[in-house]
């Protein structure tokens, strides 16, 4: 009896340890960047000699990254709106409706998830280049936005679909019985119930677009988004301003992710409790 208990403890420790190790693995580069952003030295090696905000100052003294930030913000905002709307409509069509050619619709809307981003970017670049030759345009922010929508919508769709799946439709029936029109039912019942999932999908979409490198790199032409800017910077050599830039990038994202996930999970739990 005692040996099984010891074995259990060893197993439990090993399993919990694997999660801890995984988290350490995930956060090693992130924590490293945040730590180095506060160094006073120019060389990015340990031990960190002194604490300073010097590189944040340096970052804003030469704000050549700001146009890239503006581009990223525009691209992410527009892509998020489209990906979230398409994802929500698509999730309803995936889960709640049955129609002809539905399996084809599912396959086509899911497929971009199975594509390496580089190849997705290249395939679209070829198309936009041919099309641009015929119609006289060149790649830029608009093509980046289209690329992001194609890549990100499947993610948004899957997230909203989880919410649709746990949906309690008796509330909709009740609203309909009370005389609400189809649009009113959607606005007053369906949408508020799906909102945590939609908000989560929007957050996910925004951050996926904001941090996207591959598709922006393929499709941005001469315009630059933030990840493309950083890529061309680190290709030349490492500089102490990147950790500061990274840290400024991480903090709002972390807060947003935590908020969205908290809302979504609370709502799912409530649905599960109401459903059982």
């Amino acid at each position: 009896m005692r040996t099984t208990r010891v074995k259990d403890m060893v197993l439990d420790t090993a399993l919990v340890g694997s999660v801890v190790l995984l988290l350490v693995f995930f956060y090693v580069p992130i924590v490293t960047l945040v730590a180095f952003s506060f160094t006073s030295s120019r060389v990015l090696t340990l031990p960190i000699e002194g604490f300073s905000f010097a590189w944040y100052g340096e970052l804003f003294r030469k704000p050549d990254f700001l146009p890239a930030v503006a581009n990223s913000a525009i691209v992410a905002a527009v892509s998020t709106v489209f990906a979230t709307v398409f994802g929500t409509a698509g999730a309803l069509a995936w889960i709640r409706y049955r129609f002809r050619l539905q399996s084809l619709f599912r396959a086509v809307t899911f497929a971009p998830l199975l594509f390496p981003q580089l190849l997705l970017g290249v395939v679209m670049l070829l198309w936009f280049s041919v099309l641009g030759n015929w119609l006289g345009f060149s790649t830029g922010l608009v093509t980046v936005v289209i690329g992001h929508i194609v890549y990100i919508t499947p993610f948004a769709l899957v997230i909203v679909a989880v919410q649709v799946h746990g949906f309690d439709e008796t509330l909709e029936d009740a609203a309909r019985d009370a005389g609400a029109s189809g649009w009113e039912v959607f606005r007053e019942v369906t949408f508020p119930l799906l909102w945590p999932g939609i908000f989560s999908a929007a957050t996910f979409s925004f951050l996926l677009s904001w941090g996207n490198f591959y598709i922006s790199y393929s499709l941005s032409g001469t315009a630059r988004t933030l990840p493309v800017f950083v890529y061309s910077g680190i290709a030349v050599g490492s500089s102490p301003i990147y950790p500061a830039l990274a840290t400024l990038n991480f903090i709002p994202a972390l807060l947003l992710v935590a908020l969205a996930e908290y809302m979504r999970r609370r709502a799912l739990k409530r649905q599960a409790a109401a459903g059982s």
Binding site: V16, V28, L126, I146, S238
Partner: protein, 292 residues
């Protein structure tokens, strides 16, 4: 959940389906066809010439150099799959069975790490793996010889980056199939006298198979297109297929060649996907439908 039968004449269905379907058709399916069409064209003085020619495909199939790199890409992808599954499975299992009360917080941390800018994270790895980097500093303080690790600018550096960027996928697919397992099945196995090890191998593992398969295939397919990792962390020491594609576009300005190499990679991914699908369907426990 209520399921509504919809006809294509229903404006609600058209509103829900048509815009997204149109975007995917025009910007995803048509580009794929165009990629295939372009492989039969040629270039002259860096300009595309519309002909119907097998020149590019003859070049692709006659140069062993391309296939060495394709082969290396597939080997790297396979190693990446094995490492990702080995790392993801215990963690997903622990998350589903031991750490339930912390699982939300842990998942938020993982999602955040996944969603942050890949270029910045890759730069972070340079600082960690560099000869004078964080990893060697820590190891030296633990009593290892100076500069114990020399992983940056080697295939090992590439692999660390690939596993780092992709391990999230199997982690979540395996977790999702594990949390769906009905505890009563395990209790029944114990009642029937199965040991915990036996119950794990005969109940848990078969039921986790959809998650294992889908996670593994995602990692394989996505790692075929790894570009940042071999370039930034591998330092170009052992180029992968992505580098070939980049060169054919940027250095050689040969679109048909780039299109053909892209198509080869897509076909490798699609064939693997089909193969795994067939294997998964043949196994009664691997059937996705049976679980749903």
């Amino acid at each position: 959940m209520k399921i509504e039968q919809k006809s294509w004449r229903d404006p609600v269905l058209i509103a829900a389906v048509a815009p997204l379907a149109l975007v995917m058709l025009v910007f995803f399916l048509v580009p794929l066809v165009m990629t295939a069409v372009l492989t039969f064209q040629t270039t002259q003085y860096y300009r595309l010439v519309w002909t119907w020619d097998l020149k590019i495909w003859t070049e692709v199939f006659s140069k062993p150099h391309y296939w060495t790199i394709m082969g290396r890409t597939m080997v790297m992808a396979l190693i990446c799959v094995v490492l990702c599954v080995l790392i993801a499975f215990p963690a997903a299992y622990a998350l589903a069975t031991r750490l339930k009360s912390y699982s939300t917080a842990i998942q938020i941390l993982i999602i955040f790490a996944f969603l942050t800018d890949a270029v910045l994270k890759t730069f972070g790895w340079i600082l960690v793996l560099d000869k004078n980097g964080v990893a060697n500093w820590l190891l030296a303080h633990l009593g290892f010889p100076a500069e114990a690790l020399n992983l940056l600018f080697s295939p090992a550096g590439t692999m660390i980056g690939m596993v780092y960027n992709l391990v999230v996928y199997p982690m979540f697919t395996i977790y999702l199939s594990l949390v769906r397992i009905d505890r009563d099945l395990l209790l029944a196995a114990y009642d029937a006298g199965a040991s915990r090890v036996r119950a794990f191998f005969e109940v848990t593992l078969p039921l986790a198979r959809p998650g294992l398969y889908s996670g593994a295939i995602l990692v394989f397919v996505l790692s075929l297109g790894a570009f940042l990792e071999p370039r930034v962390l591998g330092g170009g020491t052992a180029p992968l297929a992505s580098e070939l594609i980049r060169q054919s576009f940027e250095t050689r300005v040969n679109w048909p060649l780039g299109a053909a190499l892209t198509l080869v990679l897509i076909l490798i991914g699609a064939l693997t996907l089909a193969l795994v699908g067939v294997i998964a369907l043949r196994n009664p426990f691997g059937k996705r439908r049976a679980a749903a």
